[in-house]
């Protein structure tokens, strides 16, 4: 066939593909909302929680942030805590991408798309967490390039907006393209996704680094102003992300019979073992510097771990986190964790909870306590904040469920076709 004609045909095929992509999405939405009773109950419960959250947020916008328990002293709370954890979750998915694409791990290649789906849902949660933290969400357009007035590159927050949205777009593209190709029964063209996969690796690291820079770049907050913050963020992300993905794979196995091969989970657990150890070592060295040196710089840590001037608000939180992290790590090192066991599940849950506290309430809140004038004002989230946060998590799970449903349906259809063939 003359090269010219072949090219023509390719172009025609591409045109057809582009045109039918919305059709594919529509079909996917239909498939993703099919399921049994359990599925509908799950979706209904999540929708209900999301509605409660949306309602609480709407009230917050109407009445002002006064309905939260944040103050001029502790000006960020549960929302930003969740945001920080969510970024870690999103970045953690890269620990599947690296083995799959850089080390050509064939089996990981088969399930890597789950990590990318988790990343998409997590990023959407992060964006929502920031949105609900805004005092004037109606002025959101001020943040947009061209029509707004974005203070780039000086403001770290603009970097964060860019990298988070960029990461979302990259992952949407990768997941969308790969699924669409599978749906069409065609082999994905590496040209259209491999460069983006490599970009997503850099990007995953950058989202968490930039998020850490948000905090550690503030000279007035000694608790955050440490060079170890970004590495610690990455290390803990490489625990919470993979741990979450392992849980997701287990749930998929139970609910949809989507059978992931055993090797990827083992690889993830090896990664978790290393990352968690590094995380704990860095935590220990941070604590050594703070407590051995003493002085005003250690005051936040003192408040966090032992309480200060009669205030003990975060002490139970942080020791729960430490206990969860230590026990979880211990469990991960048991040989049992490499098998499909309850030990593995317990370890994942413990580490996720531990890191959620350590990077959320245990990192954001003590940055403000004592305040820059060394006043101690404590913070406990208000009911509104809990409702909104629960709503965001519910929406994240809703999105993740739809994505996973779509993925498993496409995969199942392909498997079915292979069988027929």
């Amino acid at each position: 066939m003359p090269a010219n004609a072949r090219k023509k045909r390719n172009v025609a095929a591409l045109k057809h593909a582009v045109r039918s992509y919305p059709g594919f999405l529509w079909w996917g939405l239909g498939q993703a909302t099919n399921g049994g009773l359990g599925f509908y109950v799950w979706m209904t419960v999540l929708t209900a929680i999301a509605l409660v959250g949306a309602n609480a947020w709407a009230h917050q916008v109407a009445q002002g942030m006064i309905v939260t328990n944040m103050t001029d002293h502790v000006s960020w709370g549960l929302y930003i805590a969740n945001f920080t954890f969510g970024v870690g979750l999103a970045a953690g998915g890269v620990m599947m991408v690296i083995p799959a694409y850089l080390y050509d791990d064939e089996e990981m290649h088969k399930v890597v798309i789950i990590g990318e789906a988790v990343a998409i849902a997590a990023i959407v949660m992060c964006t929502l967490s920031v949105l609900v933290d805004l005092g004037r969400p109606d002025r959101f357009w001020h943040l947009l390039p061209v029509i707004g007035r974005i203070n780039w590159p000086v403001s770290m927050l603009t970097w964060d907006v860019i990298v988070l949205n960029g990461y979302l777009v990259i992952n949407l593209h990768i997941v969308g393209y790969l699924l669409y190709m599978r749906y069409l029964g065609r082999k994905p063209n590496p040209k259209w996704y491999v460069p983006f996969v490599f970009l997503s690796i850099i990007w995953a690291i950058s989202i968490h680094t930039v998020t850490a820079f948000l905090y550690c770049g503030l000279g007035g907050r000694p608790f955050w102003n440490t060079a170890l913050l970004a590495p610690r963020f990455l290390a803990s992300a490489f625990v919470s992300g993979p741990a979450f993905i392992i849980l997701v794979m287990r749930i998929l196995r139970i609910t949809t019979g989507f059978a992931a091969p055993p090797k990827p989970a083992r690889t993830l657990i090896q990664i978790i073992r290393v990352a968690m150890t590094i995380n704990l070592v860095m935590l220990a060295s941070e604590l050594f510097t703070l407590f051995y040196t003493g002085g005003a710089h250690g005051e936040s840590a003192k408040y966090l771990f032992f309480g200060s001037h009669g205030h003990y608000g975060l002490v139970p939180w942080i020791w729960t986190a430490i206990a969860c992290n230590l026990i979880g790590t211990g469990l991960f090192f048991m040989p049992d964790a490499l098998e499909r066991s309850n030990t593995r599940i317990a370890a994942c849950i413990l580490c996720i909870v531990g890191i959620w506290i350590e990077k959320g309430m245990g990192l954001i809140i003590p940055g403000f306590i004592p305040s820059t004038l060394h006043e101690i004002v404590e913070y406990t989230p208000s009911l509104t904040e809990w409702k909104v946060t629960a709503g965001i998590w519910a929406f994240g799970f809703l999105l993740l469920t739809v994505l996973l449903k779509l993925i498993t349906t496409v995969f199942a259809a392909e498997a079915h076709k292979t069988e027929i063939a």
């Binding site: 239909g30 049994g36 509908y40 944040m70 000006s75 002025r139 259809a413």
Partner: protein, 323 residues
């Protein structure tokens, strides 16, 4: 309401494992119908849940929503904006006010100094600030916080802002802290949308109509100088200061950040800031850093001067000194 979603009782569903490749091979119409109903119901519930948001179109006019950044407003735009704000103040607070736009005086660079030997912590400056700047009366907010410090220590760890006894106490000294109008302001670097910036006379201002209320500047400020409007301020009509500046003491909207602006609506007209006039001890010195004969330069040349948290490199235009 949304529980209707769960009503389609289809115990098992082998169907969805059938070949699906023919596009739009959807399931039974009954299911599609139910799903559509569920989606509609969900959307309706979502709309209902978000209904409190309807206060936004009630309170935020289209003009306000579309208002550009202060620096992009022409004189004509400003006229309209100020007229709108004056009308809104009349409507919401019942007060007739005039909003002006005092510009920096060319060649002037403001600085402030506080005599720590004199300040006795009586708090008159906070009161004057509260009244001058139309602060929320409900919380008696002001831009100043006075720390009662223990003699022999500059460690704020030993300070307290909640003291409530005769002053000065023999073993204490007093440190009023407000915006330090830094030359290297961390808050300005932090702001993602340039809603806060440093003007030519050194004053760091906020465009209250541009701020999105992310509070990153509040986290970045090492001096606890910024205040957030957690709710709409309440001020009795007769207490509203009618002499208002767009970038300074006009009544701030809910959800925006604010901060000390050296009373620029006064100081740019040559008048002393309210806190200085109110100080009964004469501890406050204000003036032009560029004028070699100014009071502030006399302090810098003749007194033992320090700035707060100098090690952070913020380069404050706010000084403290001892006699």
């Amino acid at each position: 309401m949304t529980t209707d979603n769960a009503s389609p009782q289809e115990p098992h569903d082998g169907e969805h494992l059938k070949p699906l490749l023919p596009i739009l091979d959807q399931h039974s119409t009954r299911r599609t119908l139910l799903k559509t109903a569920g989606a509609a119901l969900g959307l309706a519930a979502f709309g209902e849940a978000l209904s409190p948001l309807m206060v936004i179109p009630e309170n935020v006019s289209v003009d306000e929503f579309l208002q550009q950044h202060y620096k992009e407003l022409t004189d004509e735009d400003k006229k309209k904006v100020f007229a709108r704000l004056e009308a809104e103040t009349k409507e919401r607070f019942g007060a007739n006010v005039t909003i002006t736009d005092a510009k920096p005086i060319p060649g002037v660079r403001f600085a402030y100094a506080i005599n720590v030997s004199k300040c006795n912590g009586n708090g008159k400056c906070m009161e004057a600030c509260n009244k001058e700047n139309n602060h929320h009366r409900g919380v008696d907010q002001s831009y100043i916080r006075v720390l009662e410090m223990t003699k022999g220590s500059m460690d704020m760890e030993h300070g307290s802002t909640t003291y409530d006894h005769t002053v000065p106490q023999d073993d204490k000294f007093y440190l009023p802290v407000q915006c330090q109008q830094c030359d290297n302001p961390p808050c300005v670097s932090a702001c993602p949308i340039e809603a806060t910036w440093k003007e030519d006379d050194g004053i760091v201002v906020v465009d209250y109509n541009w701020c999105i209320g992310c509070r990153y500047c509040e986290a970045a400020c090492p001096y606890h100088a910024r205040r957030f409007n957690w709710e709409l301020p309440e001020i009795p009509a007769e207490e509203v200061n009618p002499n208002q500046g767009y970038l300074s003491n006009r009544i701030r909207p809910q959800g925006a950040m604010e901060k000390c602006h050296f009373c620029l609506h006064r100081t740019r007209e040559g008048r002393a800031p309210a806190c200085q006039e109110a100080c009964p001890t004469g501890a406050r010195v204000f003036g032009d850093l560029n004028d070699p004969d100014s009071a502030i330069n006399y302090v810098l040349k003749n007194k033992r001067v320090f700035v707060l948290k100098e090690e952070l490199g913020t380069k404050p235009s706010f000084f403290y000194f001892f006699d």
